[in-house]
Amino acid sequence: MPSGAAAKRVMLLAGVVMLALLIAGFVVGAIGSQMFGAPRFLAQPAIHLPPQPVFPISAAKESLGYSDYPKEAEEKPAADAEHPPAAGSADHGDAEEEHHFKPMGVTQFAITNTLLSAWLTSIVIILFFVLGARKRAMVPGRFQSVVESIFEGVLSFASSVLGPEMACKAFPVVATIFFFVLFNAWIALFLVPIYQAVGLGSGGLWDFELKAHLIRPAGTDVNMPLALALISFVFVEYWGIRVLGLGYFKKFFAFGNLLRGRPSGLIDVFVGILELISELVRIVSFTFRLFGNMTAGEILVVMITFLVPFVANIFVFGLELLVGLIQAVIFAGLTLVFLSLAVHHEEH
């Protein structure tokens, strides 16, 4: 580490370079190129909400609309012959023309870039924890300390919401949700060159046009938050029933007072219906909270890069790191809170 004047000079130099990059980025970015007529550094990015299939290749080509693309004229007959357009494709003609991309049908199976990303993330999580937990030294090394302190932090968080006994039982699922969301968000930021540059496209090495990233943050695929939300929902209901038995459903079907002939029982019934709805709405809110945050983050990164390339993104990256952490905490934390509500319902 350089100290004193040397450090100051390095800092100053870095600041100057950053400023120069910021100005250059502004000039060659979308705004600057409009203002000064400079050549645009990046093409306008295409935003796709649905995940894009990358495997098998035929599915990818179909979804990416290779067949409609003029440059791929020679592929068109083959693609058409092998994969006749799905019945729904006519409905999405506009989208296809606009993006040259057709989302998969609801039941069509293909491996998407988001699923690949989820697998990559899973492997990283497994490596991280299994390596961290493998040695089990009594006096932990640095890496083991990091893994253990993260682990312990989540555990104490769960304990503070649920109490130590229940926390131990609920911990694995909640922690896995937390790490899955967190790593999915963060790995996309740390591995941004791979995520942003590697993909399927058309053209040669120089006029390469990226049409689908090979991997894309799993949080931007609505199926991933939906899957987690369903798991969280099932998990909460399971523990509610397991702890309270059939009495758990009294919360939703509160006919007790009404059957005893009390008019105020009507209110209970109504409240029960509300409870039932709110229980189900959690799935939707879980899903779209995470999906929206992750997608918005990705779009923000892409758009800022498009508008002002190079260094302006640093702030967005910092923001996105924070958002990833917050979303992970919210997803895991809300699961914990709903769990504690379900388990301790009798006491309220």
């Binding site: 998969m104 049908g105 899973s122 694995p172 922690a175 799993a218 695929d221």
Partner: protein, 166 residues
């Protein structure tokens, strides 16, 4: 639904991915980590209690040493006092004995003197008797004149005196 990208197989794929991840993490990360942490906290607890015990032991042994020192000090003081007292007593008894001996000696001496005196007096008395008888004999034997009497008595007394002196 389609525009949003909801896709049933994909959803199932995520569910399966998550469940597999959960299973692997549970088996290879959570359980060992939990066990390790429990073990470590147990070990730390043990260490802490051992340290506490050692501290208590040290404190108690310190106290014991202190107690022993005090005991020894008290014992020493007691022995010293005892010795002093004994010596005092001894001195007093010795003095008493010396005094008694001296007294006994003096008594004996006094008794001897008394006895000697009594013996001497007895002897003297006997001598006086003899002397008186002798003197009477002489007086009777001679004719009784005044002059002779007085000479006689004086003579006897002188003899007695010489007796006493001897």
């Amino acid at each position: 639904m389609v525009e949003l990208g909801i896709n049933l197989p994909l959803l199932i794929a995520y569910l399966v991915t998550f469940v597999i991840l959960l299973a692997i993490l549970y088996q290879f990360a959570y359980k060992p980590l939990m066990a390790a942490m429990d073990q470590r906290s147990e070990r730390i607890q043990e260490g802490l209690s051992a340290a506490e015990q050692a501290r208590q032991e040290a404190a108690s042994s310190q106290a014991a040493i202190e107690e022993q020192l005090n005991e020894a000090r008290r014992e020493g003081q007691r022995l010293l006092d005892q010795a002093r007292e004994a010596s005092q007593r001894y001195r007093e008894s010795e003095m008493e004995r010396a005094r008694q001996e001296a007294e006994a000696f003096a008594e004996r001496a006094r008794a001897d003197i008394q006895r000697e005196r009594d013996a001497a007096l007895d002897e003297l008395r006997a001598s006086f008797g003899d002397l008186a008888i002798t003197a009477a004999e002489r007086v009777i034997r001679r004719s009784l004149d005044r002059q002779a009497h007085e000479e006689l008595i004086t003579q006897v007394l002188e003899e007695g005196e010489s007796l006493r002196r001897g």
